[in-house]
């Protein structure tokens, strides 16, 4: 039994089947990208165990074939199986000799590549940091993730932020606010919504008793989640705040009720907290100052040819201060983060950086080096053997 299992997992036939399925996954993933966009496709097809392809709405004969579904193994399943396959084959069949050291290196490189891909999926974080010319920023925001925050601004030098991930905002569920006497109960959470005083649409009945919703008569119309690349979901929630003495009221929070609005305050005795739902922020122990942003266009057009940001990093520990010039394909690597020039706005006065934290960023480079060295050894050996044969003749 064990033998058949090992035989199955180490067989070359499995490798071929897995590679074939991978090609199929890439093919259907590419088709799906047209409808769902790159971000969603990546999640459904490549960061999953099973993916299901549906017949696209825009194709001919959709009316007859709308029911057609094609399930296939997802990226994690295929990658995992390939990894097991490669490891099993190595353990059962491979005998390390100098002659085979090239092959060995290639395979180690490949294994490392598969592992690094998984690490990137799980551990990497991406966010954006807009900075205006002449000003500084010490945080970045995730445009696809939100957080509920209660901020205590009573201290003279510090603000205390209590952050609750939106994944914990489930209707009816109570969550304790850490290091505070408060807890929150989610009345309702909408991943995307239209908010305003719009009389069109079908707004939900507002349970709000405090804050902007009451003062300004704002209502919420739930909307479908968007996956488009340049659109942001208006995450919105009705949150009841509870103190040990009972309910303090229900607030409407939304990531569009932002700094442009007066803060919504939760008050308990002498203490008060600002309550807000906002794009998830990452704060850093340093500030990025945008000294100068420059932007060149192709002559006579509005098409950008090059854009670059001259920045100064001010660290809490001033010995880590540094100057840098960030431009296309030339990011700044600093404190385990990578800052890419992503975009710009505001009449060329705001630069937007993509901030990526990827602890495994060096692994793909190492694996490619290993594979390169492996190939060099493998083919080099053949080459010299061939040369020797010729000179021998």
């Amino acid at each position: 039994m064990m033998k058949t299992l090992i035989h199955f997992f180490s067989s070359l036939r499995l490798t071929v089947v897995l590679l074939g399925l991978s090609m199929m996954l890439i093919f259907f993933g590419t088709l799906a990208q047209v409808e769902t966009g790159i971000w969603e496709t990546q999640k459904i097809y490549f960061e999953s165990f099973i993916a299901v392809w549906a017949y696209p709405k825009t194709w001919i004969a959709y009316d007859q074939l709308f029911w057609f579904r094609l399930p296939m193994p997802g990226g994690y399943l295929l990658g995992g199986m390939l990894l097991i396959n490669l490891l099993a084959a190595h353990i059962t069949r491979f005998k390390f000799t100098i002659k085979k050291s090239g092959l060995f290196l290639i395979h180690v490189g490949l294994i490392l590549l598969l592992v690094s891909e998984l690490m990137t999926d799980i551990l990497s974080e991406e966010s954006q940091m807009p900075v205006d010319e002449g000003s500084r920023s010490n945080f970045s925001q995730e445009y696809r993730n939100n957080e509920l925050v209660l901020i205590d601004r009573s201290h003279a030098d510090l603000d205390t932020v209590h952050s609750i991930p939106v994944s914990l905002l489930k209707a009816g569920k109570e969550v304790n606010v850490p290091d505070s006497p408060l807890s929150i109960r989610t009345v309702n959470y909408y991943p995307n919504a239209q908010i305003g005083r719009a009389t069109d649409g079908k707004p939900v009945k507002s349970p709000a008793t405090k804050g902007a919703a009451v003062k300004m008569g704002i209502v919420v119309t739930p909307a479908a989640v968007t996956y488009a690349e340049n659109e942001i979901n208006t995450a919105t929630a009705y949150i009841e705040v509870l103190s040990p003495q009972g309910s303090l009221g229900t607030w409407l929070v939304s990531n569009v009720i932002d700094d442009r609005f007066p803060p919504q305050l939760v008050e308990l005795g002498e203490k008060s907290w600002e309550i807000a739902l906002r794009l998830k922020r990452h704060y850093y122990p340093f500030e990025i100052e945008l000294v100068d942003f420059s932007h060149e266009k192709y002559p006579g057009t509005e098409i950008p040819f090059n854009f670059s940001s001259e920045i100064m990093v001010h660290h809490e520990n001033s010995s880590k201060n540094q100057k840098a010039l960030i431009y296309m394909n030339h990011p700044l690597r600093y404190e385990g983060l990578t800052f890419y020039q992503a975009s710009f706005a505001n009449d060329d006065r705001t630069s937007i950086f993509q901030v990526v934290r990827n602890p495994g960023w060096a692994l793909p480079y190492i694996s490619v080096l290993l594979m390169g060295a492996g190939m060099l050894i493998q083919f080099g050996m053949h080459f010299f053997k061939f040369l020797n044969k010729r000179t021998g003749v």
């Binding site: 603000d159 704002i218 942001i232 208006t234 569009v256």
Partner: protein, 200 residues
């Protein structure tokens, strides 16, 4: 196998989000603009989300504009991201009138007004000073902000109009005397604006 097991374990562990508390250096709230009380918040991208390489497309998508050209203004072909373009001149100088639209709020009112102030050599204004040279008006049945900036040699009369996720900029920039002489014409022009509106 062990690697995979470890990875799976991490996968399930990493997904368990937890409430956290952290301290940050005291934050200065971004300059907040008092919203005119008739304007409810609308769902728009945050001010810093404009991706400029797509601006031309955004301008193209923003819909068409209709207006009545005041007497004495000379229409110039709208080009690039400009939706309309005029010139006016008299014995004391000349001025140009431009109409542009951008997605989002383009940094907010104060930032835009200060950008305009910079163009005519005025120092940045504080939030509290805004009422001194702005007044709420209606353009195309939506609330807008009329801006009057008088500089030494150059002046600006303009309006900022948030319109279904875009911001329209109407601006007359030129020699102070010419600009001021055309204030009525500018107001008539703004009153005549009709915007393609799919939202209602």
């Amino acid at each position: 196998m062990i690697l995979l097991a470890a990875a799976l374990l991490c996968l399930s562990a990493c997904d368990r989000a937890q409430p956290t508390t952290y301290k940050i250096p005291k934050e200065v709230r971004a300059a907040t603009l008092p919203m005119p009380d008739t304007v409810a918040p609308t769902t728009t991208a945050p001010s810093n989300m404009e991706v400029l390489p797509g601006m031309q497309e955004a301008a193209n998508e923003a819909g068409e504009i209709g207006y009545t050209k005041p007497a004495g203004w000379q229409e110039v072909a709208a080009s690039g991201i400009r939706k309309a373009n005029f010139k006016v001149g008299d014995e004391s100088g000349s001025a140009e009138i431009t109409v542009l639209t951008f997605p989002g709020d383009v940094g907010g009112r104060l930032a835009n007004i200060n950008r305009w102030r910079g163009q005519i050599g005025l120092a940045d204004a504080a939030l509290d000073d805004l009422p001194a040279y702005t007044v709420g008006i209606d353009i195309a049945n939506h609330r807008a902000l009329y801006v009057r900036l008088e500089g030494k040699t150059q002046s600006i009369l303009g309006a900022l109009l948030p319109f279904h996720g875009n911001t329209w900029f109407f601006k007359m920039l030129g020699d102070t005397n010419t600009v001021l002489a055309n204030e009525t014409a500018m107001q008539d022009f703004l009153n005549s604006i009709v915007l393609e509106d799919h939202a209602h």
